[in-house]
Point group: C2
C-alpha cells in the first residue's frame, strides 16, 4: 500500500478535536516509517449538517465514501438533534451499508492508569461484537402511538450467515493470541431462538479450532465477571447489543472510555472499514481541549492493522504505551500531567517519531 485514501468524519462535540490528534499521529507514523502517502477527504456529516440541511447521510455521500480505503470517525451526536436520528441515519447506516460485521473493541488496562476497580491486574481482552444484525437492524414499529393502547416492538434479527462469519473471525483472533480462549456471551436461557443459533454456530465453528478453549456466559453474568475477574477474558464474541453494553463497562474498568478504541470492520475489504473511539461526542466538554484523544489515536492503530500495515500499528501502540507510562509515573510522583487534547497528540506523535 503506497497511498491511503482516507475518509475523515470529524462529527460533533469533541469529535473534531480528537480526530485532529488522530491525524497528527497518523502523519507522524507515515513520516517516520517512510509512507504510505495519506490523502484525507473530510466529510461534513453529523449535527451541523443535519440542523442546516436535514440531511444525515445522502446516497451521494455514501457512494463517495465507498470509494475510500478507510474511514476515521470522531463522534456523532448533539442534544439539539432528536435521539436516534444521527445514530440510525448516519452512524449505524454506515456500519450497515458498509457491511461492518465485525465491531472490534480491544480492552487493556495500562499499569498506573486509574480504574474504579480495587484490582485491575492483567486486563487484556478483545471484544468481537457483531455489527450488522440483532436489535440494531431497525426492525420493529409502533402502533397506536401516543395512545394508552400503544404497542412498540423491536425485532432482533439474527442469521446463520451473519453469526457464522463474525464467530469465525472471533475464533481466528482467539487462535492467534497466546491464551487462545473464546468466551461467547448471550442470554440463551431466555432468548432461545437467537441464543440457540449462536450456540450451534459456536459449536460448529469451534470444531474447526480445536486448540481454542471455549466457554459460555450469560450477558448478566458477564457484567459481573467484568468487575470481579476481568483478567479471565481473552476474546469475547457477542451480539450487537450485548457487545455495546459490555464494551462500555469494559471501557470503564480499564480506565475510562477516553482510552477505548474500536474498528467497524469488513474483513474482506468489500467496503472501507471505519475506525472510531467508542466514546460519544460529549457536548459538555466540546471545544475545551480537555478530551483525551488516546482512543482515537488507538483507533488509527487498528486501522493500520486492518490495512496490513502492522508495523505502523505497532509503532502507535508502543507510543501510547509509553505515554501511559509517562502519565503513570508523573501521577506517582505526585505531579499528574496536565495536558490539553493537542498536548497528548503531540506527545504521542513525538514518541512515534522516536
Amino acid at each position: 500500500m503506497t497511498s491511503i485514501d482516507l475518509a475523515v468524519i470529524p462529527g460533533d462535540g469533541i469529535g473534531p478535536e480528537v480526530v485532529a490528534e488522530g491525524l497528527k499521529v497518523l502523519d507522524a507514523v507515515c513520516e517516520a516509517l517512510g509512507g504510505p502517502e495519506i490523502a484525507t477527504h473530510t466529510y461534513d456529516l453529523g449535527a451541523r449538517r443535519y440542523l442546516a440541511t436535514g440531511e444525515t447521510l445522502t446516497d451521494a455521500d455514501l457512494e463517495d465514501i465507498k470509494g475510500r480505503d478507510a474511514i476515521l470517525l470522531g463522534a456523532i451526536g448533539d442534544p439539539r438533534v432528536p435521539s436516534g436520528v444521527l445514530e440510525r441515519g448516519l452512524l449505524l447506516k454506515l456500519r450497515f451499508a458498509l457491511d461492518h460485521y465485525v465491531n472490534l473493541r480491544p480492552n487493556r488496562h495500562y499499569p498506573g492508569v486509574p480504574t474504579p476497580l480495587a484490582d485491575s491486574g492483567g486486563i487484556d481482552f478483545l471484544v468481537v461484537r457483531e455489527g450488522t444484525e440483532g436489535l440494531y437492524c431497525g426492525n420493529g414499529g409502533v402502533v397506536r402511538q401516543g395512545t394508552p393502547h400503544e404497542i412498540a416492538t423491536e425485532v432482533s434479527v439474527n442469521t446463520a450467515y451473519g453469526v457464522e462469519r463474525v464467530v469465525r473471525y472471533a475464533f481466528a483472533k482467539a487462535q492467534a493470541r497466546p491464551r487462545k480462549k473464546l468466551t461467547y456471551v448471550h442470554k440463551h436461557n431466555v432468548l432461545v431462538n437467537a441464543g440457540g443459533l449462536w450456540r450451534r454456530v459456536v459449536e460448529e465453528v469451534g470444531a474447526e479450532y480445536p486448540d481454542v478453549a471455549v466457554d459460555y456466559m450469560h450477558v448478566d453474568a458477564a457484567t459481573i465477571f467484568l468487575v470481579t475477574d476481568p483478567a479471565r477474558f481473552d476474546v469475547i464474541a457477542t451480539d450487537n447489543l450485548f457487545g455495546d453494553i459490555l464494551t462500555d463497562e469494559a471501557g470503564a474498568i480499564t480506565g475510562g472510555i477516553g482510552l477505548a478504541a474500536s474498528g467497524n470492520i469488513n474483513p474482506e475489504k468489500a467496503f472501507p472499514s471505519m475506525f472510531e473511539p467508542i466514546h460519544g461526542s460529549a457536548p459538555d466538554i466540546a471545544g475545551k481541549q480537555i478530551a483525551d484523544p488516546t482512543a482515537t489515536i488507538a483507533s488509527v492503530a487498528l486501522m493500520f492493522d486492518h490495512l496490513g500495515l502492522a508495523e505502523h500499528a505497532r509503532a502507535i501502540e508502543d507510543a501510547i504505551e509509553s505515554d501511559m507510562a509517562a502519565r503513570a509515573s508523573a501521577a506517582e510522583a505526585g505531579a499528574p500531567l496536565k495536558r490539553s487534547t493537542s498536548d497528548v497528540g503531540n506527545a504521542v506523535a513525538a514518541l512515534v517519531r522516536g
Copy 2:
C-alpha cells in the same frame, strides 16, 4: 393479616439450602413479633421434577399456587436440563402468569463487605425492572433451523399499559425516598420504538411527580456509572432485559449476588407475588452448605413489606445489617467468620429474636 399461606419452591442446586434459612428467619420474626401464623406449602418444581416427569409447571400447580398469599423461591436451573426449559417453562411462566410486572431489586453496600470497587461509599439504590414485557415475552421464532439459511428472531413487545404501570410504581418509590431521584435507563437512540414509548411515558407520569428529579441514561452508559459512581443512583426504572443485566452488575459491586434480594411483585395483589434471591442455583456448590442465604433472607423481608407487615420487614433488615457488621468486624480483626449456610441463618434468626 393473621396468617400467611406461603407457597415454597426450593428448586434446584443451592435453592433448598438457602430457602431453609429464609424460612428459619421467617419463623423467628413471626415468633418474635407475635404472628402471623405461617402455613407453608412446598412445591416440587424444577429440574428434579422435570427430569423425572417432563413437567415444568402444570396448570394444576399454577392454579394451586394462585391461591396462596405469596411465594418464596430458591433457585431454578440444572446443567442436565436444556437451557431455557425451566427458565421459560417455570420461572418466567410464574412471573408472567402471576402478572409480576414489578421486579424490585434493592442494592445496598453494607460497610465492611468486600467489593471489587476501590470506592463503594454510599451505594443504596433500588432497581424497578419491568417484569412482563420486552424481550422476555417469548415472542419470535426460527426458520430454516440448522441450515446455513437459518433466521432467528426475538421480538421485544412493549405496551403503553405495561410501561406506564411500572413507571408509575417507580415514581411512587422514588417519591417515598429521601433523595427523590429517578433514572430511567433504555437505549432510545437505537431502539427508537420501545425507547420512544418509555420516554413519553416517563415524561407523562413524571409530570404527576414534580418533586421527583428525573434523568435518563443509555444502558451502556449505565454500566459505566455503576462502577465509576454508583452512589449517584437512587431509583432506576428500566425494561426487563436491561434490568436483568444492570442488577447482576449491581450485585457484583455491592459485594456479590449472594446478598442481592428480589421481589416479583403484582402491586395490586391480584396474584401472589414471588420473592427470590437474584442468584442462580449454583450447582457447583450445591449441598455443601457454603452458599450465603442472605439474599433469600432479605427476599423474605421484601415479602413482608409487600404484605403490609413493615415491622417484620424492618426486623429482618436490621438483623441482616447487624450480621453484616459482625462479619465486617471479624474480618477487620483478621479472623473472618467461617460459617455454613445454616450458621448464617441461625445468626440472623437469633438477631431477629433479639
